[in-house]
Symmetry: C2
Subunit: 129 residues, 2 copies
DNA sequence: ACCACTGTAATAGTATTGTGGTACAGTAAG
DNA sequence: CTTACTGTACCACAATACTATTACAGTGGT
């Protein structure tokens, strides 16, 4: 189902978190879908249960999952909250991007241009689903 | 001259690197300007000479400084190379920004909008110098 | 009530990273 | 050639981040 590389410089929990998040927003995991249990997924990926718990916990904080004790983790159906959280995260990413670009002495038009170029470089998203 | 906070979560060498880079691109340190020596700056900021050496070394790799052994570090005058390096760094920042936004399930128009909003939020840059 | 499953919490080991201390080598001026 | 500066390289210590181990507590079906 998922793939993680223990030798990557980016930590395992981060790799997995991104994949799951992508699966949720792409619709692969619909609302109310029950995720694999912590131990199941830990066994499958050959990682520690604690690592999976960390991933699920953070995704719950971000509003993508909800924990039902004794039962499992489920994809959150309250899309309003998810949308709100996503835009908060987006604003943070944008702020950091701008801040670091400005530190390099780059101007707003240059920053806009770089973003447009990067977006144009990518294939269509959400049209192939 | 510079200010660093040892208790910040962002490492000292990173704080200092950003400040120096900003000083160079803003024109506060013109080309051929001789930077303070490693030991001078280390004493002034009460940090280890090794930390300053790390900063200067990385800024040299990025094309902002040049090392003249036995003499000191100087602001690089070859602005072409600096411009090129800056745009490479900008492209990397943009790529990471887009990648992480896409992982959140956000669409190109939303990403563009977030950037515009963030840029609009900032006061004029380079006009107050 | 029991039992097999679920998530949770506390703890410890390991690797990476940031920083400090010290000694080495090269340059420039007297 | 000596001297006082410059950057460079190597090693050690401390803090942090990541992951693993273990034990605990709550649910749900039988």
């Amino acid at each position: 189902m998922f793939r993680v590389d223990p030798d990557s410089p980016v930590p395992v929990y981060e790799q997995l978190k991104r994949q799951i998040r992508l699966g949720i927003v792409s619709g692969a995991f619909p609302p109310e879908h029950r995720m694999a249990s912590i131990r199941e997924l830990a066994t499958e990926l050959t990682v520690n249960p604690n690592t999976i718990a960390k991933v699920y916990g953070q995704l719950e904080t971000e509003g993508f999952l909800i924990s039902r004790a004794g039962s499992g983790f489920y994809v959150k159906d309250c899309q309003e909250s998810v949308l709100e959280t996503r835009h908060e995260l987006l604003a943070e990413l944008a702020a950091e991007f701008v801040a670091r670009s400005v530190e390099l002495g780059l101007t707003p038009p240059e920053i806009q241009a770089a973003l447009s170029e990067e977006l144009g470089r990518r294939p269509a998203l959400g049209t192939d689903k």
